[in-house]
Symmetry: C2
Subunit: 317 residues, 2 copies
Protein backbone atom coordinates (compact mmCIF):
# COMPACT_ATOMS: atom_id res chain seq x y z
CA UNK A 1 0.00 0.00 0.00
CA UNK A 2 1.44 3.32 -1.10
CA UNK A 3 1.42 6.58 0.79
CA UNK A 4 -0.34 9.06 -1.51
CA UNK A 5 1.60 12.30 -2.05
CA UNK A 6 0.40 15.71 -3.16
CA UNK A 7 2.19 17.44 -6.03
CA UNK A 8 4.16 19.66 -3.65
CA UNK A 9 5.10 16.71 -1.43
CA UNK A 10 6.38 14.93 -4.54
CA UNK A 11 8.45 17.96 -5.47
CA UNK A 12 9.78 18.21 -1.90
CA UNK A 13 10.84 14.52 -1.93
CA UNK A 14 12.68 14.99 -5.22
CA UNK A 15 14.42 18.10 -3.88
CA UNK A 16 15.48 16.36 -0.63
CA UNK A 17 16.88 13.25 -2.29
CA UNK A 18 19.50 12.50 -4.95
CA UNK A 19 20.97 9.72 -7.11
CA UNK A 20 17.75 8.65 -8.77
CA UNK A 21 17.14 5.60 -10.94
CA UNK A 22 14.02 5.81 -13.11
CA UNK A 23 12.15 2.72 -14.27
CA UNK A 24 9.85 2.40 -17.28
CA UNK A 25 7.21 -0.22 -18.09
CA UNK A 26 7.28 -3.28 -20.33
CA UNK A 27 6.79 -2.78 -24.04
CA UNK A 28 7.78 0.82 -23.37
CA UNK A 29 5.90 3.50 -25.28
CA UNK A 30 6.63 7.17 -25.84
CA UNK A 31 4.91 8.23 -22.62
CA UNK A 32 6.92 6.06 -20.23
CA UNK A 33 10.24 6.65 -22.04
CA UNK A 34 9.63 10.34 -22.70
CA UNK A 35 8.58 10.88 -19.08
CA UNK A 36 11.65 9.03 -17.80
CA UNK A 37 14.03 10.93 -20.08
CA UNK A 38 12.47 14.28 -19.19
CA UNK A 39 12.58 13.57 -15.45
CA UNK A 40 16.26 12.54 -15.65
CA UNK A 41 17.16 15.60 -17.73
CA UNK A 42 15.14 17.99 -15.53
CA UNK A 43 16.67 16.61 -12.31
CA UNK A 44 20.19 16.81 -13.77
CA UNK A 45 19.56 20.44 -14.65
CA UNK A 46 19.10 21.25 -10.95
CA UNK A 47 22.30 19.43 -10.02
CA UNK A 48 20.96 15.98 -9.19
CA UNK A 49 22.27 12.67 -10.43
CA UNK A 50 19.51 10.85 -12.33
CA UNK A 51 19.53 7.90 -14.71
CA UNK A 52 17.00 5.82 -16.62
CA UNK A 53 17.21 2.06 -16.07
CA UNK A 54 17.86 0.23 -19.35
CA UNK A 55 14.66 -1.30 -20.71
CA UNK A 56 15.57 -4.16 -23.06
CA UNK A 57 12.24 -3.87 -24.88
CA UNK A 58 12.92 -0.31 -26.07
CA UNK A 59 12.30 -0.14 -29.85
CA UNK A 60 14.45 1.84 -32.31
CA UNK A 61 11.61 4.35 -32.63
CA UNK A 62 12.20 5.63 -29.11
CA UNK A 63 15.74 4.50 -28.23
CA UNK A 64 17.33 7.79 -29.26
CA UNK A 65 15.26 9.80 -26.82
CA UNK A 66 16.64 8.04 -23.73
CA UNK A 67 20.14 6.98 -24.77
CA UNK A 68 21.81 9.92 -22.99
CA UNK A 69 20.24 8.92 -19.68
CA UNK A 70 20.79 5.15 -19.47
CA UNK A 71 22.32 4.13 -16.12
CA UNK A 72 25.74 2.45 -16.12
CA UNK A 73 25.75 -1.17 -14.92
CA UNK A 74 27.46 -0.28 -11.64
CA UNK A 75 25.01 2.51 -10.70
CA UNK A 76 23.72 1.87 -7.17
CA UNK A 77 20.97 3.84 -5.44
CA UNK A 78 18.07 3.41 -3.11
CA UNK A 79 15.99 6.14 -4.72
CA UNK A 80 14.07 4.20 -7.35
CA UNK A 81 11.29 5.97 -9.26
CA UNK A 82 8.80 4.25 -11.58
CA UNK A 83 7.00 6.40 -14.15
CA UNK A 84 3.76 5.62 -16.04
CA UNK A 85 3.77 2.10 -14.58
CA UNK A 86 0.49 0.94 -13.02
CA UNK A 87 1.79 -2.28 -11.50
CA UNK A 88 5.14 -3.77 -10.45
CA UNK A 89 4.22 -6.71 -12.70
CA UNK A 90 4.47 -4.35 -15.68
CA UNK A 91 8.17 -3.73 -15.09
CA UNK A 92 10.56 -5.41 -17.55
CA UNK A 93 12.17 -8.66 -16.40
CA UNK A 94 15.58 -7.11 -15.70
CA UNK A 95 13.92 -4.70 -13.25
CA UNK A 96 12.43 -7.51 -11.12
CA UNK A 97 15.18 -6.96 -8.54
CA UNK A 98 13.68 -3.51 -7.79
CA UNK A 99 10.08 -4.73 -7.60
CA UNK A 100 9.78 -4.39 -3.82
CA UNK A 101 11.98 -1.36 -3.30
CA UNK A 102 10.43 1.36 -5.42
CA UNK A 103 10.46 4.62 -3.48
CA UNK A 104 8.20 6.71 -5.67
CA UNK A 105 5.74 6.03 -8.45
CA UNK A 106 4.52 8.88 -10.69
CA UNK A 107 1.50 7.75 -12.67
CA UNK A 108 -1.76 8.70 -14.39
CA UNK A 109 -3.42 5.24 -14.42
CA UNK A 110 -6.51 4.99 -12.22
CA UNK A 111 -5.72 1.27 -11.98
CA UNK A 112 -2.42 1.89 -10.16
CA UNK A 113 -1.75 -1.09 -7.84
CA UNK A 114 -0.16 1.05 -5.08
CA UNK A 115 3.06 -0.98 -5.16
CA UNK A 116 5.49 1.89 -4.50
CA UNK A 117 6.28 3.30 -1.08
CA UNK A 118 5.14 6.76 -2.21
CA UNK A 119 2.71 7.52 -5.03
CA UNK A 120 1.79 10.65 -6.93
CA UNK A 121 -1.24 9.79 -9.05
CA UNK A 122 -3.25 12.17 -11.22
CA UNK A 123 -5.77 10.10 -13.17
CA UNK A 124 -7.21 13.24 -14.83
CA UNK A 125 -4.10 13.62 -16.95
CA UNK A 126 -4.13 12.06 -20.41
CA UNK A 127 -0.40 11.41 -20.24
CA UNK A 128 2.22 10.88 -17.56
CA UNK A 129 4.29 13.49 -19.40
CA UNK A 130 1.88 16.23 -18.31
CA UNK A 131 2.53 15.31 -14.67
CA UNK A 132 6.32 15.32 -15.16
CA UNK A 133 5.92 18.77 -16.75
CA UNK A 134 4.15 20.10 -13.65
CA UNK A 135 6.74 18.58 -11.33
CA UNK A 136 9.69 20.01 -13.26
CA UNK A 137 8.07 23.45 -13.52
CA UNK A 138 7.72 23.46 -9.73
CA UNK A 139 11.31 22.28 -9.26
CA UNK A 140 13.06 24.75 -11.54
CA UNK A 141 10.45 27.17 -12.90
CA UNK A 142 11.33 26.50 -16.51
CA UNK A 143 11.76 23.75 -19.09
CA UNK A 144 14.86 23.33 -21.26
CA UNK A 145 14.58 22.38 -24.92
CA UNK A 146 16.03 18.92 -24.13
CA UNK A 147 13.34 18.31 -21.50
CA UNK A 148 10.66 19.75 -23.76
CA UNK A 149 11.64 17.34 -26.54
CA UNK A 150 11.25 14.28 -24.28
CA UNK A 151 7.94 15.55 -22.93
CA UNK A 152 6.61 16.30 -26.41
CA UNK A 153 7.33 12.67 -27.33
CA UNK A 154 5.37 11.58 -24.23
CA UNK A 155 2.32 13.79 -24.84
CA UNK A 156 2.10 13.36 -28.59
CA UNK A 157 2.58 9.60 -28.81
CA UNK A 158 0.12 8.80 -26.01
CA UNK A 159 -2.60 10.90 -27.69
CA UNK A 160 -1.96 9.98 -31.35
CA UNK A 161 -0.68 13.50 -32.01
CA UNK A 162 -3.60 14.97 -30.05
CA UNK A 163 -6.20 13.04 -32.08
CA UNK A 164 -7.25 10.35 -29.57
CA UNK A 165 -10.27 10.73 -27.30
CA UNK A 166 -8.05 11.09 -24.23
CA UNK A 167 -6.63 14.46 -25.39
CA UNK A 168 -7.64 17.25 -23.00
CA UNK A 169 -7.34 21.02 -22.99
CA UNK A 170 -4.42 20.55 -20.59
CA UNK A 171 -2.60 18.22 -23.02
CA UNK A 172 -2.83 20.86 -25.77
CA UNK A 173 -1.87 23.65 -23.36
CA UNK A 174 1.23 21.84 -22.10
CA UNK A 175 2.13 20.91 -25.70
CA UNK A 176 2.00 24.60 -26.65
CA UNK A 177 4.41 25.43 -23.81
CA UNK A 178 6.74 22.61 -24.89
CA UNK A 179 6.87 23.94 -28.46
CA UNK A 180 7.46 27.41 -27.03
CA UNK A 181 10.32 25.93 -24.96
CA UNK A 182 11.94 24.52 -28.08
CA UNK A 183 10.50 21.05 -28.65
CA UNK A 184 11.07 20.51 -32.41
CA UNK A 185 7.47 19.51 -33.08
CA UNK A 186 7.79 19.66 -36.85
CA UNK A 187 10.66 17.16 -36.94
CA UNK A 188 9.20 14.99 -34.17
CA UNK A 189 5.77 14.79 -35.85
CA UNK A 190 7.36 13.88 -39.17
CA UNK A 191 9.30 11.08 -37.46
CA UNK A 192 6.57 9.82 -35.14
CA UNK A 193 3.36 10.32 -37.13
CA UNK A 194 4.08 11.05 -40.75
CA UNK A 195 6.65 8.41 -41.54
CA UNK A 196 5.73 4.82 -42.26
CA UNK A 197 8.25 2.10 -42.81
CA UNK A 198 8.14 0.09 -46.02
CA UNK A 199 7.13 -2.83 -43.81
CA UNK A 200 4.20 -0.91 -42.33
CA UNK A 201 2.96 0.27 -45.72
CA UNK A 202 3.21 -3.26 -47.08
CA UNK A 203 1.48 -4.79 -44.04
CA UNK A 204 -1.32 -2.19 -44.11
CA UNK A 205 -1.87 -2.93 -47.79
CA UNK A 206 -2.27 -6.65 -47.09
CA UNK A 207 -4.44 -6.04 -44.06
CA UNK A 208 -6.78 -3.65 -45.86
CA UNK A 209 -7.14 -5.92 -48.91
CA UNK A 210 -8.15 -8.79 -46.60
CA UNK A 211 -10.76 -6.99 -44.52
CA UNK A 212 -14.03 -8.93 -44.37
CA UNK A 213 -17.27 -7.06 -43.81
CA UNK A 214 -20.40 -8.56 -42.27
CA UNK A 215 -23.70 -7.48 -40.73
CA UNK A 216 -24.35 -4.94 -43.52
CA UNK A 217 -20.86 -3.45 -43.23
CA UNK A 218 -21.26 -2.73 -39.51
CA UNK A 219 -18.57 -5.28 -38.65
CA UNK A 220 -15.11 -5.32 -40.24
CA UNK A 221 -12.58 -8.03 -39.44
CA UNK A 222 -8.91 -7.80 -40.36
CA UNK A 223 -6.38 -10.59 -39.96
CA UNK A 224 -2.64 -10.42 -39.45
CA UNK A 225 -1.04 -13.81 -40.05
CA UNK A 226 2.54 -14.82 -39.28
CA UNK A 227 2.99 -15.19 -43.05
CA UNK A 228 1.95 -11.55 -43.54
CA UNK A 229 4.40 -10.42 -40.86
CA UNK A 230 7.17 -12.40 -42.55
CA UNK A 231 6.31 -11.18 -46.04
CA UNK A 232 6.19 -7.54 -44.95
CA UNK A 233 9.15 -7.83 -42.55
CA UNK A 234 7.13 -5.88 -39.95
CA UNK A 235 8.33 -5.58 -36.36
CA UNK A 236 6.55 -4.52 -33.17
CA UNK A 237 6.97 -0.80 -33.93
CA UNK A 238 5.19 -1.36 -37.23
CA UNK A 239 2.12 -2.68 -35.38
CA UNK A 240 1.51 0.60 -33.54
CA UNK A 241 -2.20 1.53 -33.61
CA UNK A 242 -2.76 -0.90 -36.51
CA UNK A 243 -5.78 -2.38 -34.71
CA UNK A 244 -7.54 0.96 -35.21
CA UNK A 245 -7.78 0.48 -38.99
CA UNK A 246 -10.92 -1.69 -39.34
CA UNK A 247 -12.83 0.48 -36.85
CA UNK A 248 -11.81 3.67 -38.66
CA UNK A 249 -13.76 2.78 -41.80
CA UNK A 250 -16.95 4.78 -42.30
CA UNK A 251 -20.07 2.85 -41.32
CA UNK A 252 -18.16 0.28 -39.27
CA UNK A 253 -19.33 -0.03 -35.66
CA UNK A 254 -17.26 -3.04 -34.68
CA UNK A 255 -13.66 -3.18 -35.95
CA UNK A 256 -11.81 -6.40 -35.14
CA UNK A 257 -8.16 -7.26 -35.72
CA UNK A 258 -7.03 -10.86 -35.21
CA UNK A 259 -3.29 -11.39 -35.05
CA UNK A 260 -1.39 -14.66 -34.93
CA UNK A 261 1.24 -14.57 -32.17
CA UNK A 262 3.61 -17.54 -31.81
CA UNK A 263 1.59 -19.91 -34.03
CA UNK A 264 -1.63 -20.22 -36.01
CA UNK A 265 -3.29 -21.50 -32.81
CA UNK A 266 -2.28 -18.57 -30.63
CA UNK A 267 -4.08 -15.35 -31.48
CA UNK A 268 -4.50 -11.89 -30.01
CA UNK A 269 -7.76 -10.14 -30.81
CA UNK A 270 -8.35 -6.38 -30.62
CA UNK A 271 -11.90 -5.06 -30.74
CA UNK A 272 -12.77 -1.38 -31.31
CA UNK A 273 -16.39 -0.29 -31.21
CA UNK A 274 -18.72 2.68 -31.44
CA UNK A 275 -21.93 2.89 -29.40
CA UNK A 276 -24.26 1.07 -29.09
CA UNK A 277 -21.74 -1.78 -29.44
CA UNK A 278 -19.54 -2.45 -26.41
CA UNK A 279 -16.07 -3.88 -27.00
CA UNK A 280 -15.75 -5.02 -23.40
CA UNK A 281 -19.01 -7.00 -23.58
CA UNK A 282 -17.87 -8.69 -26.81
CA UNK A 283 -14.48 -9.58 -25.34
CA UNK A 284 -15.92 -10.82 -22.04
CA UNK A 285 -17.39 -13.76 -24.00
CA UNK A 286 -13.79 -14.82 -24.63
CA UNK A 287 -12.44 -14.08 -21.16
CA UNK A 288 -10.93 -10.77 -22.19
CA UNK A 289 -11.47 -7.20 -21.04
CA UNK A 290 -10.75 -3.54 -21.57
CA UNK A 291 -12.89 -0.48 -22.10
CA UNK A 292 -16.29 0.00 -23.75
CA UNK A 293 -14.69 1.31 -26.97
CA UNK A 294 -11.48 -0.73 -27.01
CA UNK A 295 -10.98 -4.21 -25.58
CA UNK A 296 -9.16 -7.42 -26.38
CA UNK A 297 -8.52 -11.06 -25.63
CA UNK A 298 -6.11 -13.86 -26.43
CA UNK A 299 -7.21 -17.34 -27.53
CA UNK A 300 -5.49 -20.61 -28.38
CA UNK A 301 -7.53 -20.91 -31.56
CA UNK A 302 -7.06 -20.24 -35.25
CA UNK A 303 -8.18 -17.03 -36.98
CA UNK A 304 -11.04 -18.91 -38.68
CA UNK A 305 -12.23 -20.45 -35.40
CA UNK A 306 -12.21 -17.05 -33.71
CA UNK A 307 -14.08 -15.46 -36.64
CA UNK A 308 -16.84 -18.09 -36.41
CA UNK A 309 -17.24 -17.62 -32.66
CA UNK A 310 -17.26 -13.84 -33.04
CA UNK A 311 -20.02 -14.12 -35.66
CA UNK A 312 -22.12 -16.10 -33.19
CA UNK A 313 -21.57 -13.62 -30.37
CA UNK A 314 -22.24 -10.61 -32.64
CA UNK A 315 -25.33 -12.28 -34.12
CA UNK A 316 -26.89 -12.42 -30.69
CA UNK A 317 -26.31 -8.75 -29.90
CA UNK B 1 -4.43 47.81 -53.30
CA UNK B 2 -5.78 47.15 -49.84
CA UNK B 3 -5.50 49.37 -46.81
CA UNK B 4 -3.74 47.30 -44.17
CA UNK B 5 -5.53 47.20 -40.81
CA UNK B 6 -4.21 46.42 -37.35
CA UNK B 7 -6.03 43.87 -35.23
CA UNK B 8 -7.78 46.57 -33.21
CA UNK B 9 -8.78 48.49 -36.34
CA UNK B 10 -10.28 45.27 -37.71
CA UNK B 11 -12.22 44.79 -34.49
CA UNK B 12 -13.39 48.43 -34.59
CA UNK B 13 -14.62 48.05 -38.19
CA UNK B 14 -16.60 44.92 -37.28
CA UNK B 15 -18.12 46.69 -34.26
CA UNK B 16 -19.11 49.76 -36.31
CA UNK B 17 -20.75 47.85 -39.15
CA UNK B 18 -23.51 45.26 -39.48
CA UNK B 19 -25.20 42.88 -41.95
CA UNK B 20 -22.11 40.94 -42.95
CA UNK B 21 -21.77 38.44 -45.76
CA UNK B 22 -18.75 36.14 -45.44
CA UNK B 23 -17.08 34.57 -48.48
CA UNK B 24 -14.94 31.43 -48.54
CA UNK B 25 -12.47 30.19 -51.17
CA UNK B 26 -12.81 27.65 -53.97
CA UNK B 27 -12.46 23.98 -53.07
CA UNK B 28 -13.24 25.10 -49.51
CA UNK B 29 -11.30 23.42 -46.71
CA UNK B 30 -11.88 23.30 -42.99
CA UNK B 31 -9.98 26.53 -42.37
CA UNK B 32 -11.98 28.76 -44.71
CA UNK B 33 -15.34 27.21 -43.77
CA UNK B 34 -14.61 26.93 -40.04
CA UNK B 35 -13.33 30.52 -39.97
CA UNK B 36 -16.44 31.75 -41.82
CA UNK B 37 -18.83 29.81 -39.57
CA UNK B 38 -17.06 30.98 -36.41
CA UNK B 39 -17.02 34.60 -37.53
CA UNK B 40 -20.76 34.49 -38.38
CA UNK B 41 -21.59 32.81 -35.06
CA UNK B 42 -19.39 35.15 -33.02
CA UNK B 43 -20.82 38.27 -34.69
CA UNK B 44 -24.37 37.02 -34.18
CA UNK B 45 -23.61 36.53 -30.47
CA UNK B 46 -22.93 40.26 -30.13
CA UNK B 47 -26.18 41.16 -31.91
CA UNK B 48 -24.97 41.52 -35.47
CA UNK B 49 -26.51 39.99 -38.57
CA UNK B 50 -23.94 37.75 -40.27
CA UNK B 51 -24.20 35.07 -42.95
CA UNK B 52 -21.87 32.82 -44.91
CA UNK B 53 -22.25 32.97 -48.70
CA UNK B 54 -23.13 29.56 -50.11
CA UNK B 55 -20.09 27.85 -51.61
CA UNK B 56 -21.25 25.26 -54.16
CA UNK B 57 -18.00 23.31 -53.82
CA UNK B 58 -18.54 22.57 -50.11
CA UNK B 59 -18.09 18.83 -49.52
CA UNK B 60 -20.24 16.70 -47.19
CA UNK B 61 -17.29 16.51 -44.77
CA UNK B 62 -17.67 20.19 -43.88
CA UNK B 63 -21.21 21.12 -44.94
CA UNK B 64 -22.68 20.53 -41.48
CA UNK B 65 -20.40 23.07 -39.85
CA UNK B 66 -21.73 26.02 -41.89
CA UNK B 67 -25.33 25.04 -42.68
CA UNK B 68 -26.75 27.22 -39.90
CA UNK B 69 -25.09 30.30 -41.34
CA UNK B 70 -25.83 30.12 -45.08
CA UNK B 71 -27.25 33.40 -46.39
CA UNK B 72 -30.75 33.39 -47.90
CA UNK B 73 -30.90 34.18 -51.64
CA UNK B 74 -32.39 37.63 -51.04
CA UNK B 75 -29.77 38.73 -48.50
CA UNK B 76 -28.35 42.10 -49.57
CA UNK B 77 -25.45 43.91 -47.94
CA UNK B 78 -22.45 46.01 -48.78
CA UNK B 79 -20.30 44.60 -45.99
CA UNK B 80 -18.62 41.69 -47.69
CA UNK B 81 -15.84 39.85 -45.86
CA UNK B 82 -13.55 37.23 -47.41
CA UNK B 83 -11.74 34.82 -45.07
CA UNK B 84 -8.65 32.71 -45.76
CA UNK B 85 -8.76 33.76 -49.43
CA UNK B 86 -5.47 35.02 -50.89
CA UNK B 87 -6.87 36.24 -54.22
CA UNK B 88 -10.23 37.27 -55.67
CA UNK B 89 -9.58 34.67 -58.37
CA UNK B 90 -9.84 32.00 -55.68
CA UNK B 91 -13.49 32.85 -54.97
CA UNK B 92 -16.05 30.33 -56.24
CA UNK B 93 -17.77 31.18 -59.54
CA UNK B 94 -21.06 32.22 -57.94
CA UNK B 95 -19.18 34.84 -55.87
CA UNK B 96 -17.74 36.56 -58.97
CA UNK B 97 -20.33 39.32 -58.59
CA UNK B 98 -18.63 40.38 -55.32
CA UNK B 99 -15.09 40.26 -56.73
CA UNK B 100 -14.60 44.04 -56.84
CA UNK B 101 -16.61 44.99 -53.78
CA UNK B 102 -15.03 43.10 -50.90
CA UNK B 103 -14.82 45.39 -47.89
CA UNK B 104 -12.54 43.33 -45.66
CA UNK B 105 -10.26 40.36 -46.13
CA UNK B 106 -9.00 38.41 -43.10
CA UNK B 107 -6.13 36.16 -44.12
CA UNK B 108 -2.91 34.40 -43.14
CA UNK B 109 -1.43 33.90 -46.64
CA UNK B 110 1.76 35.89 -47.27
CA UNK B 111 0.80 35.76 -50.96
CA UNK B 112 -2.39 37.81 -50.42
CA UNK B 113 -3.13 39.80 -53.59
CA UNK B 114 -4.45 42.88 -51.72
CA UNK B 115 -7.77 42.73 -53.58
CA UNK B 116 -10.04 43.81 -50.71
CA UNK B 117 -10.60 47.41 -49.65
CA UNK B 118 -9.33 46.59 -46.13
CA UNK B 119 -7.02 43.76 -45.15
CA UNK B 120 -6.02 42.19 -41.88
CA UNK B 121 -3.14 39.84 -42.64
CA UNK B 122 -1.13 37.84 -40.11
CA UNK B 123 1.21 35.57 -42.05
CA UNK B 124 2.71 34.20 -38.82
CA UNK B 125 -0.47 32.29 -38.04
CA UNK B 126 -0.66 28.69 -39.21
CA UNK B 127 -4.41 28.97 -39.72
CA UNK B 128 -6.94 31.70 -40.43
CA UNK B 129 -8.96 30.28 -37.53
CA UNK B 130 -6.36 31.53 -35.05
CA UNK B 131 -6.88 35.08 -36.35
CA UNK B 132 -10.67 34.78 -36.12
CA UNK B 133 -10.18 33.57 -32.52
CA UNK B 134 -8.20 36.70 -31.63
CA UNK B 135 -10.76 38.96 -33.29
CA UNK B 136 -13.72 37.36 -31.52
CA UNK B 137 -11.95 37.42 -28.15
CA UNK B 138 -11.43 41.15 -28.58
CA UNK B 139 -15.04 41.67 -29.64
CA UNK B 140 -16.78 39.76 -26.86
CA UNK B 141 -14.12 38.56 -24.43
CA UNK B 142 -15.19 34.94 -24.64
CA UNK B 143 -15.87 32.10 -27.05
CA UNK B 144 -19.08 30.06 -27.08
CA UNK B 145 -19.02 26.30 -27.63
CA UNK B 146 -20.60 26.78 -31.09
CA UNK B 147 -17.83 29.18 -32.11
CA UNK B 148 -15.20 26.96 -30.53
CA UNK B 149 -16.41 23.98 -32.58
CA UNK B 150 -16.06 25.87 -35.89
CA UNK B 151 -12.64 27.20 -34.93
CA UNK B 152 -11.44 23.75 -33.84
CA UNK B 153 -12.37 22.48 -37.33
CA UNK B 154 -10.34 25.34 -38.83
CA UNK B 155 -7.22 24.82 -36.70
CA UNK B 156 -7.19 21.03 -36.71
CA UNK B 157 -7.85 20.43 -40.42
CA UNK B 158 -5.31 23.00 -41.61
CA UNK B 159 -2.58 21.42 -39.47
CA UNK B 160 -3.43 17.72 -39.94
CA UNK B 161 -4.56 17.52 -36.31
CA UNK B 162 -1.49 19.48 -35.21
CA UNK B 163 0.92 17.13 -36.99
CA UNK B 164 1.95 19.24 -40.01
CA UNK B 165 5.07 21.39 -40.00
CA UNK B 166 3.01 24.59 -39.90
CA UNK B 167 1.72 23.89 -36.36
CA UNK B 168 2.98 26.52 -33.91
CA UNK B 169 2.86 26.96 -30.15
CA UNK B 170 0.04 29.44 -30.77
CA UNK B 171 -2.00 26.86 -32.71
CA UNK B 172 -1.77 24.41 -29.79
CA UNK B 173 -2.48 27.16 -27.25
CA UNK B 174 -5.61 28.37 -29.06
CA UNK B 175 -6.71 24.74 -29.53
CA UNK B 176 -6.45 24.20 -25.77
CA UNK B 177 -8.67 27.24 -25.17
CA UNK B 178 -11.18 25.97 -27.74
CA UNK B 179 -11.41 22.57 -26.02
CA UNK B 180 -11.76 24.41 -22.70
CA UNK B 181 -14.61 26.44 -24.27
CA UNK B 182 -16.42 23.27 -25.24
CA UNK B 183 -15.20 22.25 -28.70
CA UNK B 184 -15.96 18.48 -28.78
CA UNK B 185 -12.43 17.52 -29.86
CA UNK B 186 -12.93 13.82 -29.27
CA UNK B 187 -15.91 13.59 -31.63
CA UNK B 188 -14.43 16.04 -34.16
CA UNK B 189 -11.10 14.18 -34.31
CA UNK B 190 -12.87 10.87 -34.79
CA UNK B 191 -14.87 12.35 -37.67
CA UNK B 192 -12.11 14.38 -39.29
CA UNK B 193 -8.98 12.31 -38.72
CA UNK B 194 -9.84 8.82 -37.59
CA UNK B 195 -12.59 7.89 -40.03
CA UNK B 196 -11.89 6.78 -43.57
CA UNK B 197 -14.57 6.06 -46.13
CA UNK B 198 -14.68 2.66 -47.79
CA UNK B 199 -13.74 4.51 -50.96
CA UNK B 200 -10.63 6.02 -49.35
CA UNK B 201 -9.51 2.73 -47.87
CA UNK B 202 -10.00 1.03 -51.23
CA UNK B 203 -8.20 3.82 -53.14
CA UNK B 204 -5.29 3.87 -50.67
CA UNK B 205 -4.93 0.11 -51.04
CA UNK B 206 -4.71 0.42 -54.83
CA UNK B 207 -2.36 3.39 -54.63
CA UNK B 208 0.01 1.72 -52.16
CA UNK B 209 0.14 -1.54 -54.13
CA UNK B 210 1.08 0.41 -57.26
CA UNK B 211 3.87 2.54 -55.81
CA UNK B 212 7.05 2.34 -57.90
CA UNK B 213 10.40 2.96 -56.25
CA UNK B 214 13.50 4.19 -58.03
CA UNK B 215 16.92 5.68 -57.26
CA UNK B 216 17.58 3.14 -54.47
CA UNK B 217 14.18 3.74 -52.87
CA UNK B 218 14.76 7.48 -52.55
CA UNK B 219 11.99 8.21 -55.06
CA UNK B 220 8.47 6.78 -54.78
CA UNK B 221 5.84 7.41 -57.47
CA UNK B 222 2.15 6.68 -56.96
CA UNK B 223 -0.50 6.91 -59.67
CA UNK B 224 -4.20 7.61 -59.38
CA UNK B 225 -5.99 6.75 -62.63
CA UNK B 226 -9.57 7.58 -63.53
CA UNK B 227 -10.19 3.82 -63.49
CA UNK B 228 -9.00 3.65 -59.88
CA UNK B 229 -11.26 6.55 -58.93
CA UNK B 230 -14.20 4.80 -60.60
CA UNK B 231 -13.44 1.40 -59.06
CA UNK B 232 -13.09 2.87 -55.56
CA UNK B 233 -15.96 5.36 -55.95
CA UNK B 234 -13.74 8.03 -54.39
CA UNK B 235 -14.76 11.69 -54.40
CA UNK B 236 -12.81 14.89 -53.75
CA UNK B 237 -13.06 14.51 -49.96
CA UNK B 238 -11.45 11.09 -50.27
CA UNK B 239 -8.39 12.64 -51.89
CA UNK B 240 -7.52 14.79 -48.86
CA UNK B 241 -3.77 14.63 -48.08
CA UNK B 242 -3.46 11.47 -50.22
CA UNK B 243 -0.46 12.98 -52.03
CA UNK B 244 1.44 12.74 -48.72
CA UNK B 245 1.50 8.92 -48.83
CA UNK B 246 4.51 8.21 -51.09
CA UNK B 247 6.61 10.81 -49.27
CA UNK B 248 5.68 9.37 -45.87
CA UNK B 249 7.48 6.08 -46.51
CA UNK B 250 10.73 5.64 -44.65
CA UNK B 251 13.79 6.27 -46.79
CA UNK B 252 11.82 8.15 -49.45
CA UNK B 253 13.13 11.65 -50.16
CA UNK B 254 10.94 12.44 -53.18
CA UNK B 255 7.30 11.32 -53.04
CA UNK B 256 5.34 11.88 -56.23
CA UNK B 257 1.63 11.38 -56.88
CA UNK B 258 0.34 11.59 -60.46
CA UNK B 259 -3.41 11.86 -60.85
CA UNK B 260 -5.47 11.73 -64.02
CA UNK B 261 -7.96 14.60 -64.06
CA UNK B 262 -10.47 14.78 -66.97
CA UNK B 263 -8.68 12.25 -69.18
CA UNK B 264 -5.56 10.10 -69.44
CA UNK B 265 -3.84 13.07 -71.12
CA UNK B 266 -4.61 15.56 -68.38
CA UNK B 267 -2.70 14.96 -65.15
CA UNK B 268 -2.02 16.76 -61.90
CA UNK B 269 1.27 15.99 -60.21
CA UNK B 270 2.06 16.53 -56.52
CA UNK B 271 5.65 16.38 -55.35
CA UNK B 272 6.69 16.14 -51.69
CA UNK B 273 10.35 16.18 -50.77
CA UNK B 274 12.81 16.14 -47.90
CA UNK B 275 16.10 18.05 -48.02
CA UNK B 276 18.35 18.08 -49.98
CA UNK B 277 15.71 17.56 -52.68
CA UNK B 278 13.59 20.59 -53.52
CA UNK B 279 10.02 20.02 -54.74
CA UNK B 280 9.81 23.51 -56.22
CA UNK B 281 12.94 22.99 -58.32
CA UNK B 282 11.60 19.67 -59.62
CA UNK B 283 8.22 21.18 -60.52
CA UNK B 284 9.73 24.27 -62.13
CA UNK B 285 10.99 21.97 -64.92
CA UNK B 286 7.32 21.40 -65.76
CA UNK B 287 6.13 24.97 -65.33
CA UNK B 288 4.74 24.35 -61.85
CA UNK B 289 5.49 25.81 -58.45
CA UNK B 290 4.94 25.69 -54.73
CA UNK B 291 7.21 25.37 -51.73
CA UNK B 292 10.56 23.63 -51.22
CA UNK B 293 8.91 20.64 -49.54
CA UNK B 294 5.59 20.52 -51.42
CA UNK B 295 4.98 21.63 -54.99
CA UNK B 296 2.99 20.59 -58.03
CA UNK B 297 2.20 21.02 -61.69
CA UNK B 298 -0.37 20.04 -64.29
CA UNK B 299 0.50 18.55 -67.68
CA UNK B 300 -1.40 17.46 -70.77
CA UNK B 301 0.49 14.18 -70.84
CA UNK B 302 -0.12 10.60 -69.76
CA UNK B 303 1.10 9.15 -66.47
CA UNK B 304 3.79 7.15 -68.28
CA UNK B 305 5.03 10.18 -70.20
CA UNK B 306 5.24 12.21 -66.99
CA UNK B 307 7.07 9.39 -65.20
CA UNK B 308 9.69 9.22 -67.94
CA UNK B 309 10.27 12.96 -67.90
CA UNK B 310 10.47 12.96 -64.10
CA UNK B 311 13.10 10.21 -64.23
CA UNK B 312 15.19 12.37 -66.54
CA UNK B 313 14.90 15.45 -64.34
CA UNK B 314 15.62 13.48 -61.16
CA UNK B 315 18.54 11.67 -62.82
CA UNK B 316 20.24 15.00 -63.38
CA UNK B 317 19.89 16.21 -59.78
Amino acid sequence: MSKMLTLSETVAWLKENDDFLILTHRRPDGDTLGSAGALAQGLREVGKSAYVFYNPETTPRYAGFVEDYIAPDDYVTKNIIAVDTASADLLPKNAAVYKNSISLCIDHHKSNMLYAELLFLDADRATCGEIIFEILMLISGSISSATAECLYVALSTDTGCFSFGNTTANTLYVASLLVEAGAPNKELNKLLFRTKTNARVSLEGMLVCGIEYSFDGKVAIASITLDMLKASDADEDDMDDIAAIPGSIEGVYVGITIRELSSAHDCKVSVRTRAPYDAQVICSHFGGGGHSQAAGFVAEKTIDEIKMELMEVLGEM
